[in-house]
Point group: C2
Chain length 153, copies 2
DNA sequence: AGAATCCAGACCGATTCAATCAAGTATTCG
DNA sequence: CGAATACTTGATTGAATCGGTCTGGATTCT
């Protein structure tokens, strides 16, 4: 039931771009340093996000990445599907990456029926949250941090 | 976000035992044949389920496996945790298999905050469903099948 | 031209996965 | 008892995946 590190990095990088969303591009090395992600690996991931249409890039000396659309339009479920594949815990209940399972009778498989519920609950949650939500959370958590600091002083 | 085949087999085997729950034991080969699971592999998995306290075994010529407790007492979340590990999509939001992630500040990580929701929704679902539910579903699906057959005739 | 930056894809070592095998132990039955 | 049966334990294997690096190229700015 795990998200790979690759997916985690992708979402962290997107959040980074989302918080700083503007016409300006941000360099890989800058994201890599701030988010503690190996640069070469991140390079690969951002490229993948680009082919997925989530970010766009600028080459050359003043190059970098920025979001390809506003954060509200970037759905987390879509990002994970692009980077990782199915959301569903088993292939035979996946809507987007269905594959037949080897149980004797799929239509009458009890496991399938409960795993479908799991899938639906995951999908429902990730389908309704967008990068904008992640950004909001990030900012809210940051604000909480600052007020804590005030309180301590 | 995937359950491994191993986990799937474990749950299918348990369901098989649940439907036929009694004092009598059932042989590996019988389960293997009915559920279309490689025998040697299933052997390994049932053993694992035994050390987890979900099934108990009888050796020798009339040997086999049966549930170690009534189906209502076997919680699906527990089975998956024993066979697969964490339910949570990332380690830093797991209650039972926590591991630190490499983001700069875990307490203020937006991704963590949303993945925690995913974890909770998965855990909530799997924590409240027991093997008894799987058995009920299996029987209900089977009944639907039979009435279909009647209708056709 | 030269430096900085993204782009494309091969490559690699380690781990995990699914599955098999071999040898051992317990139990029943003739 | 002894043979047959079935679980037990742990090693092994081949393939796939994972996290990550490396090389070499294409673009753009100065």
């Amino acid at each position: 039931m795990k998200l790979t590190v690759r997916g985690e990095y992708a979402l962290r990088a997107l959040t980074h771009l989302g918080v700083r969303h503007s016409a300006k591009v941000i360099q890989i090395s800058s994201i890599s340093a701030a988010e503690n992600i190996p640069k070469r690996f991140l390079e690969q991931i951002l490229n993948d996000l680009r082919t997925g249409g989530f970010v766009e890039s600028r080459r050359g000396v003043a190059g970098g990445y920025r979001l390809a659309k506003p954060p509200e339009k970037i759905v987390i479920a879509g990002v994970i599907r692009h980077i990782e594949g199915a959301l569903a815990p088993i292939g035979c209940v996946s809507e987007n990456y269905y594959e037949k399972c080897n149980c004797p009778d799929e239509a009458r498989c009890a496991l399938r029926s409960i795993m479908k519920e799991v899938r639906d609950s995951i999908a429902h949650l990730l389908e309704k949250t967008t990068l904008a939500d992640l950004v909001t959370r990030a900012e809210k958590l940051r604000a909480a941090d600052l007020s804590d600091a005030d309180f301590v002083i």
